[in-house]
Symmetry: C2
Subunit: 206 residues, 2 copies
Amino acid sequence: MRYSKDHKSETRARIVENAAIRLRELGSACIGVADLMKDSGLTHGGFYAHFKSREALIEEAFLHAMSSVGERWKKRADAAQAGEELAAIVNGYLTVRHRDDIGGGCMLPALSHEVARGSAKTRKAFVAKLEEAIAVVADAQSHSIDRAAQAQAAATIATMVGSLLLARAAGKGDLSSLILEAGRDAALANSAGARPARKRKPASGN
Amino acid sequence: MRYSKDHKSETRARIVENAAIRLRELGSACIGVADLMKDSGLTHGGFYAHFKSREALIEEAFLHAMSSVGERWKKRADAAQAGEELAAIVNGYLTVRHRDDIGGGCMLPALSHEVARGSAKTRKAFVAKLEEAIAVVADAQSHSIDRAAQAQAAATIATMVGSLLLARAAGKGDLSSLILEAGRDAALANSAGARPARKRKPASGN
DNA sequence: TGTACATCAGTGAACGCGCGTTCACTGATGTAC
DNA sequence: TGTACATCAGTGAACGCGCGTTCACTGATGTAC
């Protein structure tokens, strides 16, 4: 066996990447050391040459799985024609392909629920990534990143994430398609004009 | 020990209810027979007098956890003043209290991701409940349940679900509050007028 | 150039703990007579 | 009314499998001399 200079770090990166995919697909509770190593073309014993424990790997997989939400959107916006930046983001997001690719898709619908009850460290990283994404969408839809633009962007992202999540749970039938289409329309309707935010009092109960 | 006539069925219902709470909070992989029975005031051995297996309980817990999304919203809409039906649903949903009560809260942000990769039976039940909820919101916001009204309602629900999910992951700080507020505004803006749905072509990629 | 040795990524057997499942038993009640 | 017995929800010890973790070993490479 010939080992290149950074063979080990490549192996490690491969394990983390596979773990991130499983994490988005199945959640951290369904990541097993032996399965993961087999996916990566290795045997389970070698795992501890790379990670201190399963817990440590999972924390790292979370950080890896969260990378680049905003970046991906920014690339789409930059490649779009003037005035079509938001449409590029939204129409690239709410697709059948993305719906059917949980492991390789956006972390927001896949990880938010687990992050909500996770460690403070994980949540902090999540918040930073989400703020980045909000800034990208705010810029694309309002050419501004003040608080009102951020709020509007947050709502647009919520619509995108909620639509993708519900479309996935609905399967692959008519309802799923209806949700994707309605989500695209609603997310894009937000950009029509800089609508002033109306204040509303939340009611009690849930 | 005195057993009332339907003591056993009450015990069983209590176990299922506790399982449904844990299911929304932690997911099915984190439901342990011993923990669950302890929560229900029993010892683990008695479990199999009520359920065939852990799997069978989890399936039942899913069905129980999914009940009454639409019903809860319908009650709120019915209790609201004319013209305020949608506001009653949205403002009752996107609250700090609901954000902080995952176990007792709506199943949509909590279970959608797991349903997406779950059994056909579970998904079928989910779809039925989601269609109910869409009909309730469509009626509240458009006084109609035709396809356009359903699409608009689906988008409103997606915004509600996405906002709650992201607000939970964001913790309890400013960002979380911003998301809740922006979600309320956006979900209610949908009802302003019966806006005709615009067709858009989805792009490739995700 | 050749020999001996250090290095090190990866292997796979073994260990032990946790958890789902089983089962003989308990103790309280209702019922037959 | 009293005695013997069937019933049955729940108990807790025990079992066995899966999985995280450890560890002695392998086999290929680079290096010292």
